[in-house]
Structure formats: structure tokens, C-alpha cells
Amino acid sequence: MRSEPVVQVQALVKRYGTKTAVDGLDLVARAGVTAVLGPNGAGKTTTVETCEGYRRPDSGTVRVLGLDPVGQSRELRPRIGVMLQSGGVYSGARADEMLRHVAKLHAHPLDVDALIERLGLGSCGRTGYRRLSGGQQQRLALAMAVVGRPELVFLDEPTAGLDPQARRATWDLVRDLRGDGVSVILTTHYMEEAEQLADDVAIIDAGRVIAQGSPEELCRGGAENTLRFTGRPGLDIGSLLKALPADCTAAELTPGAYRVVGKVDPQLLATVTSWCAQHGVMPDRISVERHTLEDVFLELTGKELRS
């Protein structure tokens, strides 16, 4: 049995003046980690902020943990954790002071010292917020989102601009949250982040969800994968094609560099290598390129995701 949706958005429309930020968006997120992926300006933040109760939909309905984020915010707020894209901390406050304060607003908060340790904020506990690095500020915002032991956490671009090490620390925490039964909705424009963390990915462009599914489903859907190998130039492509399944194509791109396009699975790999063996070819470089979410996004929108 699939669990109840944690977030249910139906036909959401949100305009700012004449600009339509969200244009009839439908999204269902269930327990686990859902990544909302899209380029800047796609409507990710507006969608998430509507779920957090910051914005009133112009039309459409939004339910978070079964509640209306605006009308029932009093019941909802203790149950969610919010990480804003930036800010949220008194400029005169110290990192540990702010986190302890947010903890005090909750009935059963996490152990603040352990959380500070966990996120590597120990060294900046006494440092004023303004003097923290961007990465430290982001980790503090993440800590503030989880300290109240929420059921559902919204993370708006949690790793934007982080160095690889800090990004990995954030990813580890998201995995731990998921493992302990916390649902996570995160926005990102990093493909890799969605692929690494998400059970479910919703791709947003121009205020609508244009595809949704697990990273595997999205990568599989319609897309073909590529196998490349190098050998001596001038191999008999016709003979190779006869050995391959009917829907595959093969070509020698440059002398000695071969490419097979089709449904790349272990069987195909075995077929190619045994054909090479029969023809006395040593494929000295062989690689399989899986279709990535980046490719999917490009195919769906004709746009590069990274801006």
C-alpha cells in the first residue's frame, strides 16, 4: 500500500502582477525524498513557499500533511521544518544561539549540541551570523529546519553554492532524515542532487510539472543509452549489426572509435564483447553511458538546466 501523500498540489496558479510564476501545477509527493527540479525561474520556490503557507494560491488547492497551509497554519507549522533559500537569522545572533532559540519553540527538539556537531558547525558556535561563511549559513538554516523534529522538511536549494564536502554533509543528513522516517521536499537545479537523493523527481519548467517519477523511471522513459568502445580502425559494422538486437544502431565515429546506441543492458554488453572476441578485436576502452536526468531535462524542455 502506498502511503498517503505528504503534499498534494492541484492546478496551482500563482501570479505576481502580470507575471505568472506557477501556471496550473499539479504535484503529489509521498513519504520519502521528493526533488523539485528545474531551472531558475521555473516556479520551484513559489510552489514550495505556497506549501509552507507563505503565499496564498490565486487558484488551485494545496494540502500539506492533509492541511491547508494558509487556513490551518497553526496546526501545520509545528509539523514542518522550513529552510529558506537565504537569511532567516538575526544579524546579531550567534549560530548556536539562533539554533537553540528555534529548538525552544518546539516541544521535543533534537539535541542541539549533537546537531551542531553533526553539521560541522561546532567551530562557529560563538561566531555572529554575519561572519559565517555562505556554507555555514546554509548548514545553520538546515539545522533550524530539522531541530523541531518535523514530519516533513522543505529545503529550498539546500546546497546551492556549497563546496563538494559541505554538499556531501548535507546529502548525508537528508539520507538520515529519510531513513528515520522524515519526508523531504527539496528544490534543486543540480541533477546530481536529485539523482543521488530523491525517491521521486518532479521536473518543473515555466510553472508546470512536465515530468514526474523516480530517477530510474525518468531516465529509462523513451531514452536510449550509449555504449562506446575503441578498437582497431575499419571493423565490419555490418557484421556487428547482425549480432546486435534489431533496434540497435552502430557506427564508427572516428577511426577506431565505435558507438552502439540502443537498450544497453548486460546482454548487449556481452554480445558486443563476444563479437569482438570472435573477430580478434581487443576493445581497449569500453564505456556505457546511462541516460541522465540532465539529458531527460534537455529532451523535455530543449533547455540546459544549469543557468
Binding site: S3, E4, A31, G32, E52, G53, Y54, R74, R77, P78, R79, I80, V82, L84, S86, G87, G88, V89, Y90, S91, G92, A93, E97, H101, V102, K104, L105, H106, A107, H108, L110, A114, M144, V146, G148, R149, P150, E151, D176, L177, R178, G179, D180, G181, V182, S183, D199
Partner: protein, 261 residues
């Protein structure tokens, strides 16, 4: 509750809940007060400037304050200034920057309700004012101040003044940009310091200007405090009325126009 992995037991296992309201509001008030007392510019406004003005103008005969000891004229005015510096100038600037830095936004998604946040802000303003009154009263007494009147009347005036200034300060903080609030709040502080009967008696101004200046909240507060503390008058109804009108108008406008982001 359903989860992806069955019953949750780990460190982060959900256990949501708001803290009891009194605890949330107390925590918020303590934090706000700490932020205020830590801020150098705020301390300059709330403690250093009123103290310096009180000492300087009581000891050196710069402004003719009429008959009697000048400290008896000045102390009520300086107390009014202190209320204005905390409830209006300080609160406007702090809240303006909290809005700018997303603090108000972040707190809006916390379990603390908005009215709880406003209650905490008011408590923090009142705590600061108590500290100011203690400090300034001690200095004034050392300078030979002899207060009169009913302390309850003084208290009522201070509370009404706080309400009036808070409404105006929050109106400014919730509608202008943080930088504009910073500039405007300081400018207003300076202008009202000069023209609000704080250190310069209003009868030094031409009659036309005076009748307008008398309607300012800081003038009503200094005048009311002076009537009680200097002359031992009963409750100054006129001044209380002016302050009450400012309080109602200011708080209503702030409630209507305040933008949280």
C-alpha cells in the same frame, strides 16, 4: 503516521509539537532583548544619548528651561525621549532589518504565532524601558532631581507612549525598506528631540508652530510626564488623549499595512 521505512526510531524520527505558548513567548522576548542590548547603535540611542543629554543640559545652562532646577524640567522630557528611542526608533530599525533578513519570514513558519511574536517584541521593549527608567532616574536623582506626583499616572503615560510609538515604529518597519527605515527613524528621532519639548520648552517656539508641535506624541508624553513629575498634577487627560489617538491610529495602520517580507 506513515513513513517510508516503517516505525521511526532514529535520531531524527519525527516527534513534532509546539512548545507551550508562554515558553515560546518568553524565549522570543529574551532573544529580542538580548539582540537589542548587544547592538551598539541601539545602546547609543537608548542609553548613551539620553544620559548625555540629561547630564549635559542639567549641568550646563544651554537652554533656558524656565524657573526652578533645570533637572526637574529635563528629566520628564528625557524619559519621554527614552521611551521614543526604544519603542519607536529602536524597534523600527530592528524590525526593519529583521524583515529584510528574512527573520520575520522564518519565524512565520515556526510554531510561534504572529501575535506571540508581537507580544514578545512588546515585552522586550518594556524590559528595555524599565532598564532605561532605572538608569535615568538614578542619574537624575544624583543630579538633584526631586520628582512629584502619582507613580501610577507616570506609568499610564509611559504605557500609552509606548503603544503610540510602537504603532508608528512598526508601521515604518513594515512598509519601508530597511535602509529607508534606518534613515527615517533616526531623522525623526533627531527632529522630535529638538521640536518635541524634550529639552527645548515648547513655549520657545512661535505660537503657530507650537500648537502643531503640541500634538506630537513625544510632546504629549513629555508634557504629561512634566505635569505630573514636576508639578505634581493628577492625570493629564489631554496628553493621555493625544497619546491614545496616536496609539490607536498607529497600531491600526501598522496592522493593516505591515508586510512581513
Amino acid at each position: 503516521m506513515t513513513t517510508a521505512t516503517g516505525p521511526a526510531t532514529g535520531t531524527y524520527a519525527p516527534k513534532p509539537g509546539a512548545a507551550p505558548l508562554p515558553r515560546m513567548i518568553t524565549a522570543q522576548a529574551v532573544l529580542e532583548t538580548r539582540m537589542l542590548l548587544r547592538n551598539g547603535e541601539q545602546l547609543l540611542l537608548t542609553a548613551v544619548i539620553p544620559t548625555l543629554l540629561l547630564v549635559l543640559f542639567s549641568s550646563v545652562d544651554i537652554v533656558d528651561t524656565g524657573a526652578g532646577k533645570s533637572v526637574d524640567f529635563l528629566t520628564p522630557g528625557i524619559l519621554a525621549l527614552a521611551v521614543m528611542s526604544t519603542a519607536f526608533t529602536g524597534q523600527a530599525i530592528a524590525t526593519g532589518f529583521e524583515r529584510r533578513y528574512g527573520v520575520l519570514k522564518r519565524l512565520a513558519s515556526s510554531p510561534l504565532p504572529r501575535w506571540g511574536l508581537m507580544t514578545a517584541k512588546t515585552a522586550s521593549v518594556l524590559v528595555t524601558e524599565v532598564l532605561q527608567v532605572i538608569l535615568l532616574t538614578a542619574i537624575a536623582l544624583a543630579l538633584g532631581w526631586s520628582p512629584h506626583g502619582n507613580p501610577l499616572a507616570v506609568l499610564l503615560l509611559l504605557v500609552l507612549g509606548t503603544a503610540a510609538f510602537s504603532g508608528l515604529g512598526l508601521l515604518m518597519a513594515g512598509t519601508l525598506k530597511a535602509e529607508a527605515t534606518l534613515a527615517a527613524a533616526n531623522l525623526v528621532f533627531l527632529l522630535l528631540l529638538m521640536g518635541g519639548g524634550v529639552i527645548v520648552p515648547l513655549d520657545k517656539f512661535p505660537a503657530g508652530a507650537r500648537s502643531v508641535l503640541e500634538l506630537l506624541p513625544v510632546s504629549a508624553l513629555s508634557d504629561g510626564l512634566r505635569a505630573v513629575l514636576r508639578h505634581g498634577a493628577g492625570l493629564p487627560w489631554g496628553d493621555c488623549g493625544i497619546l491614545a489617538v496616536w496609539a490607536v491610529v498607529g497600531l491600526a495602520a501598522a496592522g493593516k499595512f505591515f508586510r512581513w517580507e
